[in-house]
Amino acid sequence: MEFILRYLPLIWNGFVLTAQVTLFGIFAGLGLGMLLAIGDIYGGKIASTLIRFYVEFFRGSPIIVQLFIFYFVIPKLVGIRIDALTVGFMVFALNSAAYQKGYVKGAMETIFEDQMTAGLSIGMSRTQSIAYIILPQALRIVIPAWSNEFCSLTKSTSALLVIGVRDLTSAGQTIAGQTWRILETWVFIAVVYLLWITIVTKIMDIVYEKKKIPGIEMSA
């Protein structure tokens, strides 16, 4: 296995890139997903229709196709060149937002209208009620789904290699190609993914337990 040591810097760089894209995707996706959920629930018909199109596009097409569209098609139409890594960050955030909108909206809907009415009754505006009452409850409910989203997002980052971004999977390809030690290489790469996902989801479990409040749980 010593040959792996020689390639450690390459693997490390790939891993860092994968982690960066995933973390950016999940956090930016959460922010955007929250806005989309709020827009869908409170924004009226037009907003809701636009949001539905957005979500259908990102959930209904393969992420590789989305990467191609943002890397090749849109620059051609608009006339601006975007580098592959930026496209990666963008597509993963937009893609994750489409999924996370669903989780957040579902959670917000389980926090019935009564919490909003109670918020208004103490003199809060709708925006304040969302910020101080609805979202703090919704986000607690969303954490387990968020953990799943993190897993699937991490794994789909391997699609980045189609636009030439040197992520963890692409590091594996390089090593396997140069050394022909296919078995060891891919087992090692798989273990890196596995460790990363296990550690992060464990952290999320801990956060979920820590933030848990009696009376607010995942509904079945």
């Binding site: 009564d114 109670a118 003199g123 809060m124 009452i133 009376g215």
Partner: protein, 252 residues
């Protein structure tokens, strides 16, 4: 005896659909320190009327005044008005992610913009008034129904509102928990809190209400002192309803 008018509705209407009229032409005045009690059959529009007063449901016609300010005029900041109205809900509706203290504190911090320490002090004081100070750090799910409703009352009164509107505050509670909530309301009454209460707790009404209002089919059918209703209600509907209520109270 009675002072300034605190809250008033003039010819208030709420129409849900063409044929479903919840509130019909209701005019009502409550002055400083008064306690008025609305009662009547379920579905008669009592709750809708109360929500209209707090602008939680927007009325279709008529006027709502809070200390002389017409809340139905375009451009009035309704949120600001609601901050001066305490509202207690039938199904309690505490904020489930906050402790008892957090529930009471929220409006003080973010609506009245009090500094942290002052808000905490005020909130604890309100919890003391409903005798729940030692439960301050419990979450709603860890409290009994009666305790939850007392937190609901503390949440409404902590802001020193001009008036507290209570929508059947005891009707969702188990019978053995009603007493503690009634005791709390009795304390508020003694302190001269202005209140409009929808309730069917007749002994309590007799004790504290300065006026009782009989509601049916979205309108005020009859008003009078508790004595009037207990001895000689004028309308036939009120007579029948009172007879049923008194029978029910005795059998409990």
């Amino acid at each position: 005896m009675t002072g300034q008018v605190v809250m008033e509705s003039r010819h208030l209407w709420k129409i849900y659909e063409k044929h479903l009229i919840a509130v019909k032409d209701v005019s009502l005045k409550i002055s400083e320190g008064e306690i008025k009690l609305i009662f009547g059959p379920s579905g008669s529009g009592k709750s809708t009327f109360l929500r209209c007063l707090a602008m939680l449901t927007i009325p279709d016609k008529g006027e709502v005044f809070l200390r002389g300010e017409n809340l139905m005029v375009q451009g009035v900041d309704v949120n600001k008005a609601r901050a001066k109205i305490g509202f207690v809900f039938q199904h309690i509706w505490l904020f489930r992610h906050l402790t008892a203290l957090g529930n009471v504190e929220l409006a003080l911090r973010h609506v009245l913009k009090m500094p942290k320490e002052e808000a905490r002090e005020k909130a604890l004081e309100a919890l003391r008034e409903v005798k729940l100070e030692e439960w301050a750090h419990h979450y709603p799910a860890q409290l009994s129904g009666g305790q939850q409703q007392r937190v609901g009352i503390a949440r409404a009164l902590a802001r020193n509102p001009d008036i507290i509107l209570l929508d059947e505050p005891t009707s969702a509670l188990d019978p053995e928990l009603i007493g503690e909530v009634i005791d709390t309301l009795r304390d508020l009454a003694k302190k001269g809190t202005t209140m409009l209460i929808v309730s069917h707790e007749m002994p309590f009404a007799r004790e504290v209400a300065s006026e009782m209002i009989f509601f049916d089919e979205g309108r005020i059918v009859e008003t009078g002192t508790p004595e009037h209703f207990f001895t000689e209600p004028g309308s036939e509907r009120a007579q029948k309803f009172m007879a049923r209520l008194i029978k029910k109270t005795r059998s409990e």
